[in-house]
Every structure is written in structure tokens, then in C-alpha cells.
Subunit: 221 residues, 2 copies
DNA sequence: CAATAAATTTAGGTGTGTCTAAAAATATTG
DNA sequence: CAATATTTTTAGACACACCTAAATTTATTG
């Protein structure tokens, strides 16, 4: 039975599979803000449904069917985020929680109509690619963490590695947004802070931690 | 705690209060497609929350706070229905179930933005008035059941008393939709069937039951 | 490699919302 | 107005998704 909680678990497993090939109980508990015992219990249910392969004490992996559900949920999440930002004019820092609920509504038909209404967007407001109806996407971008950009280079802000409200609000405060082009002026040896220059000539420094969570496209140098 | 189920109950009570002043357990069970024992159980919870006044064996009534939640939920339901029809081009016969889920998402801020995005619609796709942010609406229309229209009169379709999928699909089949202007040509004495004439001159007959569920504005006669 | 630490699972509970079957209260009617 | 029918409530269960605390298993390390 496809419940909200189960879709959330499958989506979380999908994201964690991106890094490690096998997903640990603990990582899931952290991501879902729940307790390991709850995760174990749910993994049994997901395995019963045939959506994950679970080996006791070893970890989980999505099955083909499980991945399909996870991708469909992720697609809905990101499309609704685009809706909230593009159509209802919300900031990228507040849309995640609503999308977390909206992603569980309706099926393929509703999703495809929403997709068409939004003009088949390729990326969500955080720069994350939106899977198509088949769960596929192509991301021709070659993104790196801003922390890896050398002084003198020009970078284009294209995504974030942390979509949390606090981080995004910090970016708002720093006047950093997707599509912005910045010049990396200097790197402080001591703490790896980066001095950046905005198009209007203003300069400001971002911390190493902030730079690590910023995905950019290298324009020059 | 404001859960999906509790919002559904409050909304159901609100609608049933429209007819009888005190709502019976049975009526609620019917409307919510649940069992009387479940209703009793839920009414206790709603009473504990202070959202209804419940006298054992007598019936329920919304409190001010309960009515507020019910109206907010109804507002969201109808706004999302407008979205689905106006923006995603769904038919009025299929949007109810999705709205039944969407109505539980987000709060005032999201709702007000949606309202603005839709251009502050006064009525939903079924001709039902949409409460404003304060739960109020003004319905200047003077609607009657089509079954009460006399032969020779001209009527404007403005609403339905039954928003069920089957009835709405039947109206689709009959080419009856909101805003349509029809001439009542004749009433059959035997079964109160109504012969109607469409703007293109075509004529067709609708049953008394169908006419009873159609709300119209009298244009002439 | 045995002792310790960390991760995972099991056992036993809780709250929400539902159900069926039985008891209690209210309505209806001969 | 007493007998019967209907409505409502209570009692006892169940599924879902959580939790804490206590095993159990796996990993680490002296
Ligand atoms: Mn979610
Ligand atoms: Mn996103
Ligand atoms: Mn609902
Ligand atoms: Mn409606």
C-alpha cells in the first residue's frame, strides 16, 4: 500500500543511494528525522511490498519498482516547488515543506498536466534536475562546489547541496541566487573563506562551509 | 491536533448544518462513508479540541473555532478545484477527489497566494461560492432548481446540487455546463421530464432527477 | 583476538482512525 | 403506553507509524 510515509522512505533511500551504494539504517533515520527502530520496522514493510531489498544488519537497496515510486515522488516534489516559486511567487527558502506534502497527491495524469502547465521545467528552484515521466533526466551541466573555484575565476551559481531553510535564507541575506554570476576575488589561507565580487562591483566574503554547499559552473579560468 | 480526518469531519458537519440545525451521527457517517461507531469516536475527539459541541444521542454543532477550520478547508478545496480546471484544464467531473487531498495542505499564506494567482474567483467549477480569507462570501445570485422552471422560460445554468462524478459526467453527455443558456420548451406531465432547447436549436429531454440537481438563474418568464 | 563500541533488531507500548458486535438510549407505532 | 425499530454509544480489535529500552549482531581497537 502506497502511503505518504512509505513514499517518503523510498525517496530518502533514492537520495542516499546517490552517495553510498547501500543505504544504512542510521543514514535513513537521520534524513527522515526518525529513530532507527522505526526505520527497521518500515524497511520490513517496504521489503514485503517488494520495493526494497533488505538484508538484516547490512542495509537496503531499492528494487526497480521501488525506484520507480521514488522517482515519481521526487518528480512531483520538484514540479510543485517550481509551481510555488514561479506561479505563487514564494521564495526558494520556504517551498520545501509544502512540496513535501504536495508530492503525495495525485498520480501520473495530474503530474503530467502540472508539468505541461509549468512548461516542462528541467530544474527545480534549487537547481536540482526534474525527472521526466519515465524517471529520466539529462543534466548537461558540469557543476563543482564553489569552494573549489580558484581566485580569478568567474562562476555561475547553478545549485545548492543543502536545501535547508537556514542555508537558503543565509544565501538570501548574502544576495546569492541561482543564475547569478560572481567573480572569485580571493581565498583566505587561514579558513578558506572566499571573497566574491557581484555584478554591481560590491564584494563580500562567504565561509568555506557556505562555498561547499554552493554548486557553480565555471565560466573562465 | 488538526489532522486530515478531523478537517474532513468539520467540513462535513459544516455542510450538513446548512440543512438541519443539528447534525445527526448517521448523516455524518453517510457523508464521510464511514461507520456510526467511528463517528462517535471522532466526535469525542473534536469535542475535546473544542471544535464541536456534542450532546450524547442528540447531535453535533460546530463551535466558532470549528466553523473557522471548516470554512478554511472548504475555501482551500474550492480554490484548488478552480486551479485544476482553469490552469490544468481538467473537467469539472474529475477534480473533486484531488481537491479533497489538496485542501489539507498549507495554511493561510499559501491559500491566499493561490487565491490571488487564480484572480480571487467567487465560485468554484461547480458553481459553489468560495469563502474569502475571513470565511465570508456574498452570493447575489437567486438560484432555483431547474425542475421548478416553467415551460417557455429561459434559464442560465449556474450550479449543481450534486457534485458526484456520475452526475457531472451525465451533464457532460447532455452537453450541459455552467454558463449555458437554455430554453425550457415543455414539461411532460407523466414524469416531469423537461424538454430543453440549446442555443444551436437542438432539443433534448432531461429527467426530473437531473433537473432537480441543476441550479439555474431565471432569465425570462 | 578478546573486549569494547556502534549499529541494528526485537519487544512492548502509544496515538490516530477505522471496524464489528453488543449494549444502551431514543423514536416510532400498534 | 408498551412493544418494536432505529439510532447512538461502548467494548474490544486491528493496521499504520511512531517511540523507548533491551537484546543482538557487527565493527573497531587495544
Ligand atoms: Mn513528503
Ligand atoms: Mn528542491
Ligand atoms: Mn479532504
Ligand atoms: Mn466543488
Amino acid at each position: 500500500m502506497q502511503t505518504i510515509s512509505r513514499e517518503n522512505y523510498l525517496k530518502a533511500i533514492l537520495k542516499l543511494e546517490g552517495r553510498a551504494d547501500i543505504v544504512s539504517n542510521q543514514a535513513l533515520a537521520d534524513k527522515l528525522e526518525t529513530k532507527p527502530a522505526s526505520v527497521t520496522s518500515m524497511l520490513h514493510k517496504l521489503a514485503d511490498e517488494g520495493w526494497v531489498k533488505h538484508e538484516a544488519y547490512k542495509g537496503v537497496q531499492l528494487t526497480g519498482e521501488g525506484k520507480g515510486i521514488a522517482l515519481a515522488t521526487l518528480r512531483k516534489h520538484r514540479l510543485w516547488e517550481v509551481f510555488l516559486v514561479e506561479k505563487l511567487n514564494f521564495g526558494w527558502d520556504v517551498v520545501h515543506q509544502w512540496a513535501e506534502e504536495l508530492e503525495h497527491i495525485g498520480g501520473e495524469e495530474l503530474t503530467n498536466r502540472l508539468d505541461a502547465f509549468l512548461g516542462h521545467p528541467a530544474f527545480d528552484p534549487h537547481g536540482d534536475p526534474i525527472p521526466n515521466a519515465l524517471g529520466k533526466w539529462k543534466d548537461g551541466r558540469n557543476l563543482v562546489q564553489a569552494s573549489q573555484a580558484e581566485p580569478g575565476s568567474v562562476v555561475l551559481i547553478k545549485g545548492v547541496l543543502n536545501s535547508g531553510e537556514e542555508f537558503l535564507q543565509h544565501l538570501n541575506t548574502m544576495h546569492i541566487q541561482l543564475g547569478l554570476q560572481l567573480i572569485v576575488v580571493q581565498r583566505y589561507e587561514f579558513d578558506d573563506g572566499l571573497v566574491l565580487e557581484w555584478p554591481d562591483g560590491r564584494q563580500a566574503t562567504i565561509s568555506h562551509e557556505t562555498a561547499q554547499n554552493l554548486l557553480v559552473e565555471m565560466k573562465q579560468n
